[in-house]
């Protein structure tokens, strides 16, 4: 947290960075194909993915995707409200084209050329089918995405937050060769994609949330071996569980059915229930969860002796 060590080099980058953002906006890649989506066909998958991926941060006080205060963003970075991503043209994303939305989700760059703040994840490796589904859902008048005029106060990012965003997130350009297809039948590959590129499981479940690698998730320190310090519902400390298949400290003894139970219902084999910030993923399909299971089974095992297994994984 030695911010002063980075302020001086970062200040110069800040200036360059602003110009850079403008340039990116000019070189918009062709995302026009997202403008002709078969919304009805994509809707239900889009609903499931959006509830699983976007919901935890964007559900607001009216139960719609209208945004809320993100109290856990450290105050040193500023005061952050998640955006209203409902279909309201003035307060939400109702005025964005599908292509603009696709571009934003992959890069974090809004139609006006500005970048989303540091609390918003980027999804550079999400494939077209999932992106299309999420867009179809967000642009529908569903009971989560229909227009809400709820306007939370404006996000205020302090200098430290701006620097962090500029220095780390500015390089999320639109991928040169976006992933175009998703094979949901090859379970290990599909699970890899869900864990690393869509659901970002590795972010909380590796050794240290401050030492993950979003572009190359498997290079994150202690990849999927748990141990990250998280914050629970009542401000209590939560240590993330090891979700590699280590027998002693991980998921080694979970059968596929037991894994389905913990993912969909939240019930662990110990009889305990998972707690926030983890949530049951009841909106994922059984095939999705089986794919995650098959992938986790082939991830190199981490024997994380630091974990008190009775209270974390099991």
């Amino acid at each position: 947290m030695k911010i002063r060590n980075v302020i001086i080099p970062a200040l110069s980058l800040l200036v360059i960075g602003s110009a850079h953002a403008q340039q990116n906006h000019k070189s918009y890649p062709d995302t026009a194909r997202f403008n002709n989506l078969n919304k009805e066909e994509l809707f239900s998958r889009g609903e499931r993915l959006t509830l699983a991926t976007c919901g935890s941060c964007h559900f607001g006080n009216d139960g719609l995707l209208s945004g809320k205060l993100m109290e856990d963003v450290p105050k040193v970075f500023g005061t952050v409200y998640s955006a209203n991503i409902t279909n309201d043209p003035a307060h939400g994303i109702g005025g964005w084209s599908n292509g603009q939305l696709a571009y934003f989700i992959r890069t974090g760059i809004k139609p006006d050329g500005k970048r989303a703040n540091l609390a918003m994840p980027r999804f550079p490796n999400i494939a077209d089918p999932e992106l299309e589904s999420i867009i179809a859902f967000l642009k529908s008048d569903s009971s989560a995405s229909k227009a809400s005029e709820l306007a939370e106060p404006k996000t205020k990012i302090k200098l430290a937050g701006k620097l962090a965003t500029k220095m780390v997130l500015d390089n999320y350009d639109y991928p040169k060769a976006p992933r175009q297809t998703t094979d949901t039948t090859f379970l290990i590959g599909y699970g890899d994609y869900l864990v690393n590129d869509v659901l970002h499981c590795f972010a909380c479940h590796s050794a240290n949330i401050a030492k993950i690698d979003i572009k190359n998730p498997t290079r994150s320190k202690g990849y999927l071996g748990g141990g990250s310090k998280l914050i629970g519902m009542n401000g209590e400390k939560i240590i993330s569980p090891n979700i590699t298949f280590d027998n002693a400290t991980g998921l080694g003894s979970y059968t596929e059915q037991q894994f389905l139970d913990v993912m969909k219902m939240g019930r662990k084999i110990s009889g305990d229930w998972i707690k926030p910030p983890m949530q049951p993923y009841t909106s994922l399909s059984d095939n999705d969860i089986r794919a995650i299971y098959e992938y986790l089974k082939v991830v190199p095992v981490v024997n994380n002796k630091k974990l008190v297994t009775s209270r974390s994984t099991k």
Binding site: L69, D72, S82, P121, A164, M167, W273, P276
Partner: protein, 124 residues
Amino acid sequence: MKAPKSLFLLAFLSGCLSVTAQKKHQNESAGNPTVEISALLAKHGCSSCHHTVRRIVGPPFADIAKRNYQSEAIVEKIGNPQPASWPGYPPMPALTVPDEDASKIADWINSIAANGGTEAAKRP
């Protein structure tokens, strides 16, 4: 460049974890569960998805209270959820909760005042 990266990731991830926002935000007066009810909600896994007044995964208890179900009906729905009644929410799995505990939870839900939850925001 290690320091800023760490800073960013910390912020990004803690952003993802903003569920703690629920602890001191809006409408807390609606009827916090007693110690006994809190323990039951935790024991049977309810609190993994439901909060008194805020949307987590499932609807807030305060919104369930507004449906004016009989307590017996709530007990029945815990064991046999009807996702069609709650469009916009992911389906709830059927839970096995002993009737005695389920009744206590149901009675508590129905005791929650009508001024909390997400649906109140839509109605004047």
